[in-house]
């Protein structure tokens, strides 16, 4: 026995974990995780690593506007990916914009998760009329494509705000709109997991010894619903980033004063016809890479964490 214990050090046990093992043997997952990590680190460290601060007027010069990428004719080595119409460095705006895209995505998924898991667990645990009402609402919402629901909620949210506050609060409206669009997925998964757990003996035992419902739900059932919820959250993050980009591209999302990747693509799109392709191309590529790697990560997680979902 002693020998075995010695062998399985904490590190060894970590490596033997089935999820870690699956991660280390799936190259796609490792690449996706690396890219996602780099993207998150780079965008969040944007004020430190970006060559310029695109929102500091002192660092912007209109003379440097519309410069192509450094490796093409007329490009300047000072601006690796070129500059936009206002002379802002593309690389820097992409880093700052990516930060907003990721932040909005994470916040929206978190909101949807909070709402969906709460409602889903309540629905699954209590059943009956509560369950019927909550899941009916979720069903109705799921019949309409998510992006349309997001546009509608976002539009209503913007419209209820006074005109002068609309730009300032746009980011929160977008987060709420996407979060309210996301929740049915989480509710379904959490409800399913709750139904399974509530039947198990340990929950019956907890009920028997007279633990309050709140404690049973929070301490016993909730932790066991988290695996499938995590899968939905990762795939949901990619979808939320796309939803935000789409809203911003439609001019309904993040305003150009603090642009996200979608806003940058929208702004750049206006210069596509004058041949200034890089203003829209690089933000689009950044968005695609980001969404792709998060998606890949989500796919791997679905396979590794919950074979039943396949």
């Amino acid at each position: 026995m002693g020998k075995i214990n010695q062998k399985s050090s904490r590190w060894q046990r970590f490596l033997d974990n089935d999820i870690v093992y699956s991660f280390l043997t799936t190259p796609g997952a490792m690449i996706a995780a690396t890219i996602t990590l780099i993207a998150i680190t780079a965008t969040f460290a944007a004020p430190l690593i970006a060559p310029y601060n695109p929102f500091d007027p002192a660092q912007i010069s209109l003379w440097d506007g519309k410069l192509p990428p450094a490796w093409t004719d007329g490009g300047s080595s000072a601006y690796l990916l070129g500059t936009d119409n206002q002379g802002r460095d593309m690389l820097s705006t992409i880093l700052y914009g990516g930060r907003i895209s990721i932040l909005v995505g994470i916040a929206a998924v978190f909101l949807g998760m909070l709402l969906g898991v709460t409602l889903g667990v309540i629905s699954g645990y209590f059943g009956g009329l509560t369950d019927t009402i909550i899941m009916r609402i979720a069903d109705v919402q799921l019949t309409i494509p998510g992006i349309l629901v997001a546009i509608l909620i976002n539009g209503i949210g913007r419209a209820t705000l006074p005109l002068e506050l609309r730009e300032e609060f746009a980011i929160y409206v977008v987060i709420v709109a996407i979060g309210l669009t996301d929740w049915p997925q989480f509710a379904r998964v959490a409800r399913g997991a709750t139904l399974v757990e509530a039947e198990k003996e340990y929950v019956q035992a907890a009920k028997l010894i007279g633990l309050p419902k709140f404690t049973i739900i929070l301490r016993h059932i909730l932790p066991n619903t988290l695996r499938p919820v995590l899968v939905i959250a990762t795939i949901g993050l990619a979808l939320a980033i796309i939803a935000e980009a789409t809203l911003s591209f439609l001019g309904q999302g993040i305003p150009p004063t603090t642009p996200s990747l979608g806003t940058l693509i929208r702004v750049g799109n206006e210069f596509l016809f004058s041949g200034l392709w890089w203003i829209t191309f690089f933000p689009a590529i950044a968005l695609i890479i980001l969404v792709f790697s998060v998606n890949l990560l989500g796919d791997w997680m679905r396979d590794a964490l919950n074979p039943k979902l396949r």
Binding site: R136, V140, T143, I144, P145, I147, L148, I151, L152, G155, I156, R158, A159, T160, A238, I242, A245, T246, F249, L250, G251, Q252, I265, N269, L272, F273, G275, W277, T280, A284, L287, I288, V291, F292, N295
Partner: protein, 332 residues
């Protein structure tokens, strides 16, 4: 099961689904109605900034905004049931008329992309299902995976840059070559119209095309393993007869269902596609209405889309009931 019992069961099933559909519509219409009251001040939207106090009071009374909320809701529902959504705040025209004007553009776009998606989806699906291991199939499958994960608007921008800006083959936006036939404004009968619909239709169809392709392929793989196909091969039938006469036919039921369900998706995504290509349909009108907080149009579009989805889901549910005996057994 006795025919009479079946008819009764079906009746119950349809009534049940109808009740659900009505409930959804009631909720959606209540939301649309509340838009009028909570989003902006309708009087301000009608008269502008420099109206006098008396004018405002008069318009409030004219619009019946001082009536109890339930009376207002009832009036709203009666009007909506007759297709009257009021006047657009911005354009000052009846909303129903505006929607009817824009609807042909959207329907033609959706129709064109549905045709592309169904035709290419089935052809490519059958091909990749039969020639599973050829490199062409593998290429098609990888490309289709990319197509599914790219945001619609980026595909649109990419196509515009390639075909309109770089190659200059097709127009980048708008709906050209419109002619009127019996009150229906169509752009499908002129060369200019065809040229202008290609890019938006392809953009809109890509996602559905991929779904249909993957579904047909999966179904083909499944069917090709079945005994009756082996028997058909043993009988020495020509490959084409086996693939298209026997195999494809049996994959079509799920495919038709998916196509039916996805028509709604096409109309939803047309909001994005129409904005990218400035295609003058209902989606673009809706986005512009949201921009200007044109509540009557927003409310009407909301009800229109909800109605569309409710009707499509109802039809699909009933079709399922008719086609799939297992659902009947589950109901009894």
């Amino acid at each position: 099961m006795a025919p009479l019992l079946l008819a009764g069961l079906m009746f119950y099933f349809i009534i049940n689904r109808l009740a659900q559909a009505l409930l959804v519509m009631a909720v959606v219409s209540a939301i649309s109605f509340s838009l009028f009251n909570f989003v902006g001040d309708p009087v301000n939207n009608m008269v502008g900034q420099d109206a006098t106090r008396e004018q405002r009071v008069e318009i409030r009374q004219q619009l019946g905004l001082d009536d109890p909320i339930l009376v207002q809701y009832q009036r709203f529902m009666l009007n909506v049931a007759q297709g009257d959504f009021g006047l657009s705040y911005r354009i000052k025209q009846p909303v129903s008329q505006l929607i009817l004007e824009k609807l042909p553009a959207t329907l033609e776009l959706v129709f064109a992309s549905a045709v592309i998606a169904v035709f290419l989806g089935i052809v490519l699906g059958v091909f990749t299902g039969i020639r599973r291991y050829s490199w062409v199939s593998k290429t098609i499958m990888s490309v289709s995976l990319i197509g599914v994960s790219l945001p619609t608007f980026i595909i649109g921008i990419g196509l515009i840059y390639l075909f309109a800006v770089y190659l200059r083959w097709l127009p980048s936006s708008g709906r050209a070559g419109v002619i009127e036939i019996g009150g229906w404004k169509t752009s499908l009968l002129t060369v200019d119209g065809w040229r202008s619909i290609i890019l938006p239709a392809v953009t809109l169809s890509l996602f559905q095309l991929t779904m249909i392709l993957r579904l047909v392929r999966a179904e083909m793989l499944e069917v090709m393993r079945s005994d009756y196909i082996k028997f058909a091969k043993a009988r020495g039938l020509a490959n084409r007869a086996i693939h298209f006469g026997h195999a494809l036919r049996n994959t079509l039921v799920p495919v038709i269902t998916i196509i039916g369900l996805n028509i709604g998706g096409l109309i939803a995504y047309s909001v994005i596609t129409e904005t990218v290509f400035q295609w003058p349909g209902t989606g673009l009108m809706f986005i512009q209405a949201v921009d200007f907080v044109d509540v009557p149009i927003m409310a009407a579009y909301l009800i229109f889309v909800a109605l569309l989805f409710v009707v499509i889901n109802l039809i699909v549910d009933i079709l399922y009931f008719v086609v799939d005996p297992r659902i009947r057994r589950g109901g009894s």
